[in-house]
Amino acid sequence: MAVLDWEVIQQYLPLYQEAAWLTVRLGVAGIIFAILIGLICAIVQYFKVPALRQIAAVYIEISRNTPLLVQLFFIFYGLPKIGIPTNATVCGIAGLAFLGGSYMAEAFRSGLEAIPAIQTESALSLGLSRAQTMRYVILPQAASISVPPFIANVIFLLKETSVFSAISLMDLMFTAKDLIGLYYKTTECLFLLVVFYLLILLPISILGSLLERRLRHAGFGA
């Protein structure tokens, strides 16, 4: 196995840093929109809002049963042909939000549905209104149940950003591929690629398992 050439690594480091920064920026932007879409879908489904609920269900099925790469190709290369202009950045964020929205919706919905009906009933029987029951009784409990799947989704979506290189966004993946093609320093390029993804993903993963353990052991569940 080839030994790493540290000079090459030092030389490439700034390029990877820039790429990592882009990966994080696009990832965070996409995730924020995914959270918004997810919240809307979860609320619409929880309250069984007619029409909107069916639309949300169709969206979730489409989003969950198609790969992000194919979604991006369609948005980036297909949509401009019917007069919808896109640029790579917007397209990447939109694609990630389209994919992530359905995953976030499931995370939030599972939290809401995990709260037993008796909690709603006892709040109502105390005279709380529907809105107050939601705000003071259901949401605080649902939120903490949704934390582990939420973190898992964040990691999943950050990983999915690696697909962005397909639409020429200069993220980590693109940078690695580009450098390999140019100079054939394959080992160093792949090493840096792995290290940078670990730097981004490992802290979140550790935070996630810490939170999950805390919620499980100190959970207020009776």
């Binding site: 109502l124 029987s125 009776a222």
Partner: protein, 261 residues
């Protein structure tokens, strides 16, 4: 056949019917509850006891008849439903405390958010009530740190703190370990001596006999008996009630010859 000199009617149930699909749970049922009266509802499982309480608290819509509280109709979609619900406190079988709130916050949530009472005043009352049920030192605890009996006493305090005109108890001891049943029933007995209006669904026959002004025997969605406890437990009028009471008696087996096995 009521024994007490009766005050005015607080709750009036008139010819209500409750159906789940094709399944009729309550059928043309009528009942009046007077101020200060303690009514115990007994009957076999599935007879509609719990459904009756849930209808009174408008947790279930009814398909016919009406339920009046202080002369006002109770309906799940009614405009003043939250005001009416405040007048009726309900305690459930399962420990239904809010697990994310401390004992004290469980109790003052509704007084503060619904009745807009001041924090200090609501908490002071909550602590007084907690002291009365022997749980003042648990005010800062979370529900998961309490035993079943303690949780149920907190649930009763939570209902009381809203100053309800009437209390509904839905098999509040059914999920408890035997040694905790007593501590909860004692609290309810104390409430009876204070002249509270209560509608109690229970399987504790001794307790029913001790606390009830009237016993209602419900079977097949209908009231079959509506008598003082002395009569119900010694000389029930219907065959169904007799069979029901028999289930609580045990024949002695000790002297039987050992079964061959």
């Amino acid at each position: 056949m009521a024994v007490k000199i009766l005050a005015e009617t607080l709750l009036s149930i008139r010819h209500i019917a409750k159906r789940f699909g094709d399944n009729t749970v309550l059928d043309d049922l009528s009942l009046d509850v007077h101020k200060g009266e303690v009514i115990v509802v007994v009957g076999p499982s599935g007879c509609g006891k719990s459904t009756l309480l849930r209808c009174i608290n408008a947790l279930e819509p009814i398909q016919a008849g009406e339920i009046l509280l202080d002369g006002e109709p109770i309906k799940p979609d009614g405009k003043n439903i939250t005001e009416l619900r405040q007048k009726v406190g309900m305690v459930f079988q399962s420990y239904d405390l809010f697990p994310h709130l401390s004992v004290l916050d469980n109790i003052v949530l509704a007084p503060r958010k619904v009745q807009k009472r001041a924090k200090a005043e609501a908490e002071a009352e909550a602590l007084t009530l907690l002291e009365r049920v022997g749980l003042k030192d648990k005010a800062a605890s979370y529900p998961r740190e309490l035993s079943g009996g303690q949780k149920q006493r907190v649930a009763i305090v939570r209902a009381l703190c809203m100053h309800p005109e009437m209390l509904l108890f839905d098999e509040v001891t059914a999920a408890l370990d035997p040694e905790m049943v007593r501590e909860v029933l004692d609290v309810i007995l104390k409430l009876a001596t204070q002249g509270r209006t209560m509608l109690i669904v229970t399987h504790e026959m001794q307790f029913a006999r001790a606390i009830a002004d009237r016993v209602i025997f419900l079977d097949g969605g209908n009231i079959l008996e509506n008598t003082p406890p002395e009569i119900f437990f010694t000389n029930p009028q219907t065959e169904r009630a007799r069979q029901f009471l028999n289930m609580f008696e045990f024949a002695a087996v000790k002297h039987h010859a050992p079964a061959e096995d």
